[in-house]
Amino acid sequence: MRIEIDPSALGKTRWYEFAVRFLFGGLITAVAGIIAKKFGPGVGGLFLAFPATFPASATLIEKHEKQKKERAGLHGSARGRKAASVDAAGAAIGSLALVAFALLVKRFLPAHSAWLVLTGSTGIWLAVSLSARARWPVGCAAPGNLQPASHCTSLPAPVPLP
């Protein structure tokens, strides 16, 4: 499936929706630092992969998809949930790549430039994410996607357009 950039999607997001994600992101980063100081870096490190903004993002996706369907005079609840489900499946793939990111940082950070290791590990995170996504086409269940079910390996059959 072709990957596209749609800058108009930013216009659909309200200012407080940006603010919520900024707040949760800032809070978890600050809390991770406080926990590391109090309980040590072992426990603090766990919060580097805490799904802090995930509930807010999934709710936003569900809401936007639902509103889109309701503007067309249709019930959008099921469609909203499925859009959020596909987003979560994408996050599952991204989290596998996050394991690779963490392993690389752990292995190379002590002996190399921090800037280089963090930048390189982020690049590897993206590369692993993209190749894993190509291997498991979770978008098969995306709303409006009419790809044949045989293309889907990890999610149920495509959801037909109403």
Partner: protein, 113 residues
């Protein structure tokens, strides 16, 4: 206090930037990748290296492996429940958080600690 405020600001900016990337990309399965971007990790590890050194940051990254595996289980659980159930995304994502907590701390306690 100043350090906590700096962490808050840098973390907020990092998470927002990755969230914006997730907003503008289509399809959703691709955009979803950015839901598990290393945004908090980049902000935290960068600051930790500056304040506490590389070995301290590497120890945090070691624990992050357990947390990332837990994130995989959590997001898979959320995805499956939303696809097959009739509960809203907000409730599913919140009530699935114990999956992350149990697995992250369990794996860390059993193999990494």
């Amino acid at each position: 206090m100043k350090v906590i405020l700096i962490r808050f600001l840098i973390g907020g900016v990092a998470v927002s930037l990755f969230a914006i990337l997730g907003d503008v990309f289509k399809p959703k399965s691709f955009a979803g990748l950015f839901g598990a971007a290393p945004s908090v990790a980049l902000a935290t590890l960068g600051l930790t290296v500056a304040n506490d050194g590389k070995h301290y940051a590497a120890t945090e990254a070691n624990s992050m492996v357990a947390a990332a595996v837990a994130f995989f289980a959590y997001s898979s659980c959320v995805s499956w429940t939303l696809m097959h159930g009739k509960v809203s995304a907000l409730w599913v994502t919140i009530f699935s958080l114990p999956v992350w907590v149990l697995l992250a701390f369990g794996i860390w306690y059993a193999w990494i600690r």
